[in-house]
Symmetry: C2
Subunit: 332 residues, 2 copies
DNA sequence: AAAACTATTGTAAACGTTTACTGTAAGTGA
DNA sequence: TCACTTACAGTAAACGTTTACAATAGTTTT
């Protein structure tokens, strides 16, 4: 379709080799005069390099494929920004593929789209790969890393937050603020990703360290969604004991918040709330949500870095408590 | 790097031509027996087609590049879902490129990433292209469409909402609810995209039709952001006249809502609010925001459809009022 | 039984690049 | 002057596919 180096060669009288050399800037292989002529012709004709051809012959690519699941993960934006930043620094390109909402077929389609062309590597943003698709990815001779999701199986490299620590920190913070009856809501402890299980473990550890016996119905599992928050609050409403809850995501937290309002419970006066994630959503609701904040940007940056420089290690990014308005200090 | 059809040819004893034919399913050009053998070998060796090579020789591609600007456009998700849906139906692939936040360089990088390889077309999601980048796009011989942004220049094809009508509808609705002093906040009327200007025009028309003289400071421009909402509310606070405002995006609306709370104004009792967009954000704040709701999903679907079937027309998708809790009916 | 067709396969060129190998002319050092 | 570099440019093969064309064997038609 478009203009090729052949056209430029014809136009300028040079061979395609020479044209290719100036256009891909192989310094030392052409004179300045030649370069000027060739470049002029290139812009005049509106030349655009065909990367497919380049990648075919060089057998390498500078594009990183990022797979995200479209389930409303409102934190994928900062992760992607981190990736973009690192990619730009390393002169890589980034393409993003949507893998649907935990749907094997569209997950597979996204993966294929990525793998069926030369790419430098793939980054998976909190996508919990189906076994078959993981196989697909493994057999492709392409480096890959998971971001914002970790595994027991340490054969899989990831950059994520330490979910055990998240659960632990949130719980300890609440205890420090005087709470003893602490709920944990909206986390998924069935999934093959062990995010939920780890958070639960951290929560239990903090409770145990403070000699607080865990009551079974303090834990309300869910899929990190807004609706899970609504439901969890509903279930908590008939247990007067609970004075604070930890929510598995900002959306869960907001769900809880809104359902609490419907039940005429005021936050933080009647119930304290700390949420996990700390995205911008925490700041646009009232009251603003105190959170265990993850460093998503850095997660993306680091994930890209490890992928690009082929470091095999896993990493945890920092996590911190951001105090806002949803936790009340209890005094005895 | 990977397994090629040559390897399969060697493995099975057939020529590469035959292998290619069965693998790309050119029915009628091979026997079932052959197909079985070849396919078996392909899966055994873990063959993965190199699309770059295919696209090179066939001179066509099945991938649609979607360019989005990363500025927190919380409505891009449903648009992308619509695109994905149509693409899946038409057996196309979708890749997404982030064009930064109104930054010419990263916009250019995204565009180049797309154009430097064979693609079927490009879809631009509410990205206001810099002139130079528009030229770049035009000279590439690739079909493109804009989504969720419209232009005076009708040479540029788009699928969007009718912003004139949006402004008109919102205003008329408020008037019907008894309001006479109506603000318009957070819209950008400087941009080359005429979204803001059109909304303003619709607003003015509705006002004029109802013989309401427009006061200059009813209009608070901005860049559709949360902060713009905060600021607008601040500016409204010393004009007691205003009883309702139209906000240029859900985030602007939420900004207004929160700033109003800070000023001890209750919505909708002290001030009514209707926002433009109607994304999920309207439903997770308190009170839930009444909105002029755009059909983003359909916008994406239609944009993809027009691109794929090469229809040159522009289109407006439907827009409707979603009554929620932020508008109060005034009775005289 | 010759002619004509059908089904299946192979040969080789093409897509747009890059790059190892050559070639050539001018410059350098003795 | 001659051997040796150096700077620049051209030739051709290669990357992994697809596909027009040709070839073969078998089958059908007459």
């Amino acid at each position: 379709m478009g203009v090729t180096i052949k056209d430029i060669a014809k136009e300028t009288g040079f061979s395609v080799a020479t044209v290719s050399r100036v256009l891909s800037n192989k310094v030392g292989f052409f004179s300045q005069d030649t370069a000027a002529v060739v470049n002029a012709a290139a812009t005049k004709l509106g030349y655009k390099k065909n990367m497919a051809a380049t990648e075919l012959v060089t057998q390498k690519s500078s594009v990183i494929a990022v797979i995200v699941n479209s389930t409303k993960t409102n934190f994928s934006d900062p992760i992607i920004e981190g990736i973009q930043q690192k990619a730009a620094e390393s002169d890589k390109r980034v393409i993003i593929l949507y893998a649907g909402d935990h749907d094997a077929t569209s997950q597979r389609r996204a993966l294929s789209t990525a793998l069926e062309r030369p790419i430098a590597g793939v980054l998976l943003l909190s996508v919990d790969l189906f076994e078959e698709n993981l196989q697909l990815l493994k057999t492709a001779q392409v480096p890959f890393r998971f971001i914002s999701i970790s595994f027991k199986d340490s054969a899989l490299n990831y950059v994520a937050s330490d979910d055990q620590q998240i659960g632990y920190l949130a719980t300890k913070y609440l205890i420090k603020m005087g709470h003893r009856c602490i709920g944990l809501a909206g986390i998924d402890i069935e999934s093959s990703a062990h995010t939920g299980k780890m958070r639960l473990a951290g929560y239990k550890r903090a409770l145990a360290e403070n000699n607080i016996p865990l009551q079974k119905n303090w834990i309300q599992t869910g899929n990190y969604s807004y609706e899970a928050g609504l439901l969890a609050m509903q279930n908590y409403s008939n247990q007067k004991c609970i004075s604070a809850v930890i929510t598995g995501s900002d959306l869960v937290g907001i769900g809880l918040l809104n359902q609490a309002a419907k039940l005429h419970l005021s936050i933080p006066d009647d119930l304290s709330l700390i949420t996990i994630d700390g995205t911008y959503l925490c700041r646009i609701v009232q009251p603003q949500l105190t959170s265990v904040t993850q460093d998503f940007y850095h997660m993306g940056y680091l994930g890209a870095e490890y992928l690009i420089s082929d470091q095999q290690q896993n990493a945890f990014t920092d996590v911190k408590i951001s105090e806002r308005e949803s936790v009340k200090k209890l005094t005895l």
